[in-house]
Symmetry: C2
C-alpha cells in the first residue's frame, strides 16, 4: 500500500500527452493546444470607431464645441477616401476605420446637422473631449508576431474565435485519450440478460464508460471478462489497442487467480497495489511497454461508490494528463456539514455528498444508504467530502473540504 | 423593444424538444430522457453481504458471543446451498448472497476459527449485534416496476449505470439541437484570407459555433453571407435545414437592407426586435413555419462581447429547451466587486467578469479594454456580472450578482 500522493505521482510520471494531430477549428473545442499560436495580423487592423459618430481632431473642439464640414461617410468594411484635415469631420459607424488625421470620435447624439448652402456641415458639442476617445487603436488587441495562445492551453469557445481571428483554419492539438473498460466477476451478466440467483448486471462498466466520456476521453466498452484464459487473454490484448484499460471488479480476490496470471503472462508490470485511501484500498496500477507506446491497466473495485471515487481520484487525472492538460488539482470548496459523521478509518475517506442550499448557505449532505450508497442515491451526488485519517466525530456545522465533480 | 423576461418567454413559447430518437447507452450521456424508465428487477436481487464475514442468526449471539458450525462458503455470484439454521454460520464474502435463515453478518475480524474433531467451528464475538447489520436487503435500492428515472431527466454518467442495471441497452432521448451560423457583414473575410484595409476576419461565427457545441448542440458553420440576393437566399434556405439559424452581424443597419428583404421574402415572421438589456439592444428573433417543423432565426450582434452575452442570455436557453431540458435559470452567485463600475444605462447591463481568489475570498474582476473587451481579454471570463438599470456608481467591495458560464 502506498500513499495517495505517491499513487498520483506514479500515474503522472508515466502519462504524457499523445502525439499531436491536426484538426479543423470546428472539431478542436475542448482540446489542448500542441503548438504556440502567433498572430499574423494587427487587431484591430485599423484605428476602429467603437460607436456611431463623427471623427475629428480633438484640438478643433475649442471650448468643447466646433463646426465641421462633413467630407466622407465610412461604414464597417469601407476604406476612408481621404485623410482628415483641421475643420473637417468624417461620419463613422461603429466598427468603421477612422480616417488618418482624426484622433477623436464624437458620439452622433452630440451632433446637430447644419446644412448651409448645400454644404453638409455639422455642429458638435463635447465638453470633456479626450484625444483617442471611442477609438480602439490598430493592434491594441493583437499585434503581428505576438503569441496569442500558448502550447498547453485548453481551447474553449472564445479561443476558437481567437484562432479564426489570426487566420487559423486548422490547429495542432493532443488527441482524446482512449480507454477501454472490461468488467471482471463471475456474478456479472450483461444488461441484455435477466440476472439469475446470485447474479447482477454489469452496471459499473457502462458507468465508467460514461465517466471517461465526461472527462474528455473516448470509451470502448469491452463487456464482461470471459472465463477461459485464452479468451481473457484475447479480451485484455484487445484492450491494449487503447491507451489504457480499466479492469473493473474483484480482480485480486478472484478465486482462480485467472486475471492476475493472464496479466503476468502478457508482461504487465504491477506499479502499485492498494492506496491508503478509502475507498481505494484495492485500487492498483499496471503498466506495459507496447508496440504502440506505453499502456496502462487500472484495477478499479466493482461497487459503484468505490469505482466512482477511484475514477475521480486516479483515472481522471490520468485522462487529463494523456489529453495534455497541465497537472492541476480538482476544484475544492469548504462548506459546513448538514449531518454528523463518524470517521473511524486509518486512511483518509472520500464520501459522496450533495451540496444543498439551506437558507442561502451551501451545506454538505452525506449520501448514504446503509453505509453503501447505491447508484440511484449516487445520481444526486455533486462531489466527494474528504475526511482525514483517524478517529474523529464530525458534528453538523463543522467545515469539511469537498472535491466537486 | 421588449423586456428581457418577455424575450425569454417568447423563445420558450416557441421551442419544444425535438422528436425523440433511440440511442445505445454509450451514446446517451448528456442527453435528456424522453421516456420514464422502470426497473425490471429488484436490486440488490438478493440479501447482499456488505462485508466479508459470517452470516448467522442474531438471536444465536447470546451475550454478544457464540460458537457456530460453518456449513458453507459463499462468494459474489455463488448461490447459497442450503438455508441456515440456529447454531450454524455461513462464510460470506462482500457482495455475496446471504443464505435464507440468516439475518446478520458478523465481520471476519470478530471471528476465531476453532476446528474441533475435523468439524469447522467458528467462535464469534460481537457485543453490539443488530439484526440486519451489514446486509443490504433485496430490493433496498430498486424494486421491480418502480420508476427509477423520469422523462426529462438529464443522463449523467451515474444514470448510464442505472440504465444498465435495469436492463436497458438503448434509451429514448431527445436529439441534440442543430444550429447553423451565418456571418453577415461586407467587411468580413474568412480565416483563410488575409484581411485588407477596412476588413476583418470572421471570428464571431466560429466562436458561436463552439459555444453551440459547448451548450450541447451541433453547430454548422455556413461561413460569410454572399452579397447577391439569390446567393443570400440560397444560404439562408440552407440554414433552415437545421433547427435554428444564427445571423451574426449588423443585419438591421445593413445599408442595402438586403438581409431583411430576403428574410421577408422567405416568409420569416419577426417575433421581436431589440431587448431592453445591454448589450442586446439589437438582438432579434424571427420564426418560420417550415416543412420540417418550426425554424428560428436569431439576430446576434457581431462584436464578440455582445455576441457572447446574447448567446448566453437568449440562444443558450433556446438550445436547452430544444434539447428537452426543463426551463431553469443559469447558476448565479453573489460576490464582491474588485473594481469600481459606473452604471449609466437605461437598461440592465451584463458585463464579462473573471472570478478571482483574493485572500481566500471570491471577488469579481471586470474585464475591460477601453470599454469593449477583445477576444483575448474575454478568454479569461468566468461569467457575466449583472448591473440593474439606472444611474449608479458601484464601489469595490459592493456585492453583485454573477451569471456563471
Amino acid at each position: 500500500m502506498i500513499e495517495m500522493e505517491q499513487a498520483l505521482a506514479a500515474i503522472y510520471q508515466r502519462t504524457e500527452p499523445r502525439q499531436a494531430e491536426r484538426l479543423p477549428l470546428s472539431q478542436a473545442v475542448g482540446r489542448v493546444l500542441a503548438e504556440d499560436i502567433l498572430s499574423d495580423i494587427d487587431s484591430p487592423p485599423y484605428d476602429k470607431a467603437l460607436i456611431d459618430g463623427y471623427a475629428v481632431l480633438a484640438t478643433d473642439l475649442r471650448g468643447g464645441r466646433g463646426n465641421f464640414m462633413v467630407i466622407d461617410e465610412v461604414r464597417a468594411g469601407d476604406i476612408p477616401c481621404e485623410p482628415l484635415q483641421s475643420g473637417m469631420a468624417t461620419r463613422v459607424m461603429a466598427g468603421a476605420s477612422v480616417p488618418r488625421g482624426a484622433d477623436t470620435v464624437v458620439p452622433a447624439d452630440r451632433a446637430r446637422m447644419d446644412d448651409a448652402d448645400g454644404l453638409p456641415l455639422v455642429h458638435l458639442e463635447e465638453p470633456q473631449v479626450r484625444p483617442g476617445q471611442h477609438i480602439l487603436p490598430r493592434g491594441a488587441s493583437l499585434h503581428r508576431g505576438q503569441t496569442v495562445l500558448a502550447q498547453g492551453h485548453r481551447l474553449a469557445a472564445i479561443e476558437i474565435g481567437i484562432l479564426a481571428e489570426v487566420g487559423r483554419l486548422e490547429v495542432l492539438v493532443h488527441p482524446q485519450p482512449r480507454l477501454s473498460v472490461l468488467a471482471v466477476g463471475d456474478q456479472l451478466v450483461s444488461a441484455a440478460d435477466y440476472p439469475g440467483v446470485g447474479q447482477s448486471r454489469n452496471s459499473t462498466g457502462p458507468m465508467l464508460g460514461a465517466l471517461i466520456q465526461a472527462a474528455g476521453g473516448q470509451a470502448v466498452d469491452r463487456g464482461i471478462a470471459l472465463d477461459t484464459e485464452p479468451e481473457l487473454t484475447r479480451q485484455i490484448n484487445q484492450g491494449f489497442q487503447e491507451d489504457a484499460l480499466i479492469l473493473c471488479g474483484s480482480v485480486t480476490s478472484d478465486a482462480t487467480d485467472r486475471v492476475p496470471r493472464v496479466l503476468r503472462d502478457l508482461g504487465v508490470e504491477r506499479v502499485f497495489q492498494g492506496v491508503r485511501v478509502s475507498p481505494g484500498r484495492t485500487f492498483w496500477l499496471g503498466a506495459l511497454g507496447h508496440a504502440r507506446g506505453r499502456r496502462f491497466v487500472f484495477g478499479v473495485p466493482d461497487n459503484p461508490v468505490s469505482a466512482l471515487v477511484c475514477f475521480h481520484l486516479f483515472v481522471r487525472p490520468a485522462i487529463t494528463a494523456l489529453a495534455g492538460y497541465p497537472v492541476d488539482e480538482p476544484a475544492r470548496i469548504q462548506a459546513q456539514l448538514a449531518d454528523e459523521y463518524r470517521q473511524t478509518g486509518e486512511h483518509p475517506s472520500y464520501h459522496p455528498v450533495r451540496l444543498e442550499n439551506q437558507r442561502g448557505k451551501t451545506v454538505v449532505r452525506l449520501l448514504d444508504a446503509r453505509g453503501m450508497p447505491d447508484l440511484k442515491t449516487l445520481a444526486s451526488a455533486s462531489g466527494l467530502a474528504v475526511f482525514p485519517a483517524g478517529q474523529q466525530d464530525f458534528a453538523p456545522g463543522q467545515t469539511v473540504s469537498v472535491m466537486c465533480f
